[in-house]
């Protein structure tokens, strides 16, 4: 085969292909060669050096461990890998819990770390009592239960959910010094399993006058958002499962309206009612909170799609590099338009770019992990990533983004604040010669 021949003869080059030590992504396929390269430049040679202590057995290798629990939780050594909360003292207001992207790998967000925003606390819903009513401009209103929906043909799909206010601190005119968790933690990715909404709409029979529907939650707020019928018939789902288990209370137990690629707030949690209507409801959250003010004094309504975005999670703010040598740069990319088609990485603040490897499978409206081999020479550098999606949309550079969408006049001091919505420009991490990492604009 030609391809095999190619791989054999065309050894991954170890010379940088873009500024400040970015290596060819194909080097990730030829592990042996990269390993050799890393050995040659790093401190790995000291493993067998004269100063090494002789190997001995650790205590856990010499006694029985604990009994396995019914529901397992991470090792106690991982106690810092948690969501950060906006009201850690249970203050009486809405609460946000952000995903620690800088401490995770791969593409699946574990359920316990999936981001959550609750505007009036988590309802304690008995699934045996929960009802989903579909009514309004339909031929016959219907009631569904968890039990009845569990008998429907289901589909499982990988999708991200992102708050429209995710990354909002980046509207600041000066970079907020914060982790990827604080900046981008209101976005997570899971496998959702449930019933396509189109099947249920089929059963109730759509009146042709219906142009919109709204989902409404069973929470005390009764949060509701309008959705075009077009989207409801496309890929909307009544999701019952999240990563294989029932949806978490903070993510919509016992069922949520899943609208892949659309603003997180529209993915109604604890959904109890779907009503077909002839006009948008202009609910509080669509008419105010998730409407964006533009620099010219106009406001956007119905900015549903979460647009193409990427950010580097390793290395990033909160980490430090332990000296020159080989590192893997990696991060996540996603788009509400569909699949990620390309991610480029720069180590010189955008002067030169190299194409990152995309980890398969690359799924529509889902996290895609990108990886880039890198050999750091110890000089100050700026890391950036930039994503493209299959619709042709490209993640805007910061200058382009700020020109169109504006930035604050004064620095944002609270990294949990929401100066505006729908930030999807690039994130830059500045690394100094001691390996310290800062959030910078470049």
């Amino acid at each position: 085969m030609n391809i095999r021949k190619c791989r054999k003869t065309e050894a991954p080059p170890l010379e940088p292909i873009a500024g400040n030590g970015l290596l060819d992504r194909r080097a990730l396929l030829g592990r042996g060669i990269v390993f050799a390269g890393a050995m040659g430049t790093g401190a790995a040679g000291s493993l067998t050096g004269a100063g090494a202590e002789p190997i001995k057995n650790d205590p856990w290798s010499l006694e029985m461990g604990s009994v396995v629990p019914a529901y397992q939780v991470p090792s106690r050594f991982e106690k810092d890998v948690v969501r950060t909360r906006s009201n850690p003292n249970n203050e009486f207001r809405n609460s946000h819990a952000r995903t620690p992207h800088h401490l995770l790998q791969g593409t699946i967000t574990p359920n316990g770390l999936f981001f959550s925003i609750s505007h009036s606390g988590l309802p304690d819903i008995d699934p045996a009592q929960h009802k989903l009513i579909i009514h309004g401009l339909v031929k016959q209103p219907m009631v569904y239960t968890v039990e009845s929906l569990s008998r429907y043909p289901m589909v499982s799909r990988m999708h991200f959910v992102e708050c429209a206010g995710n990354s909002a601190p980046m509207f600041s005119n000066e970079p907020v010094q914060a982790t990827a968790q604080a900046l981008h933690g209101l976005c997570s990715n899971a496998e959702w399993t449930g019933v396509p909404l189109s099947i249920l709409l089929d059963e109730v029979g759509i009146d042709p006058r219906a142009k919109w529907l709204f989902g409404e939650g069973a929470d005390s707020l009764g949060l509701h958002r309008s959705v075009p019928i077009k989207k409801a018939l496309d890929d909307a789902m009544i999701a019952l499962y999240q990563n294989g288990e029932r949806i978490q209370p903070g993510n919509g137990y016992p069922m949520r309206l899943l609208l892949p690629g659309y603003q997180g707030n529209m993915n109604i949690k604890h959904v109890r009612r779907i009503k077909l209507i002839d006009q948008p409801a202009m609910s509080f959250y669509e008419a105010k909170t998730y409407s964006q003010i533009l620099p010219d004094g106009k406001m956007w309504l119905f900015h549903f799609t979460m647009e193409v975005k990427s950010f580097i999670t390793q290395p990033s703010f909160g980490h430090s590099l332990k000296g020159p040598g080989f590192y893997e740069i990696s991060g996540i990319a996603y788009s509400g338009n569909g699949r990620i088609s390309k991610v480029m990485v720069s180590a010189d603040g955008g002067k030169s770019w190299a194409q990152a490897a995309l980890q398969a499978p690359v799924l529509p409206k889902a996290f895609t992990r990108f990886r880039m081999p890198w050999r750091w020479d110890g000089q100050p550098i700026v890391l950036q990533s930039r994503a493209w999606d299959e619709s042709g949309a490209v993640q805007p550079l910061r200058a382009e983004f700020v020109a169109a969408r504006g930035q604050t006049e004064k620095p944002v001091t609270n990294p949990l604040g929401f100066p505006n919505q729908h930030y999807n420009s690039i994130t830059s991490w500045g690394i100094d010669s001691s390996g310290g990492i800062k959030h910078v604009y470049a």
Binding site: R151, E203, I206, L221, P228, K230, Q279, S283
Partner: protein, 176 residues
């Protein structure tokens, strides 16, 4: 109860079940009448659809407000408690991070609807229809959008011209 016979459900499924391309859908929903959904059927649409009978004025609303709303939203809708929203603000939203208050809404029905479903925060869905109209009148009046003596009811509320109404643009009409 909303139970009817399942043959009826099946016949509906066959009559209307064409959109998904499935020959048959499970048809496990139970029919329910709109009359049985009244307690949940509380949304108010911009054209006034869903507004209940009743009425109120700003003066009536002021008394209710100080009793049920001011503790979070502040006296006269300003200086709210930490983490809570002010209700009064300028009618001009010319900076990207201007605080969006009630004058931001395109329609006054949004105010009535959010109070009806979500407020008071710790005791939602307890305000009477007259209280909701009175509070709507009071908050609109505080923002000088209506006069102090204007009566809000199912006819007048949807006719209120909000100051920011003409400044909205739809992000991508092709999505609708």
């Amino acid at each position: 109860m909303y139970m009817r016979n399942s043959l009826f459900v099946l016949s509906l499924t066959f009559a209307f079940g064409t959109g998904t391309g499935l020959a048959e859908t499970p048809g496990l929903g139970q029919p329910i009448s709109e009359a049985d959904i009244t307690a949940w059927n509380i949304e108010v649409l911009p054209d006034g659809t869903g507004l209940p009978a009743g009425s109120g004025t700003a003066k009536q609303g002021a008394a209710i407000y100080s009793q049920k709303c001011a503790m979070c939203h502040g006296e006269n809708g300003v200086n709210p408690a930490p983490g809570m929203l002010p209700l009064v603000g300028p009618a001009k939203f010319d900076k990207i991070d201007t605080m969006k208050t009630v004058p931001y809404y395109k329609y006054a029905t949004t105010l009535f609807d959010v109070m009806r479903r979500s407020m008071p925060y710790q005791m939602p869905k307890t305000l009477s229809n007259d209280e909701l109209y009175a509070l709507s009148a009071y908050i609109l009046s505080l923002n000088k959008i209506i006069g102090e003596n204007d009566v809000m009811d199912a006819k007048t509320l949807p006719q209120v011209k909000m100051p920011n109404r003409d400044n909205f643009i739809i992000w991508d009409p092709s999505k609708i």
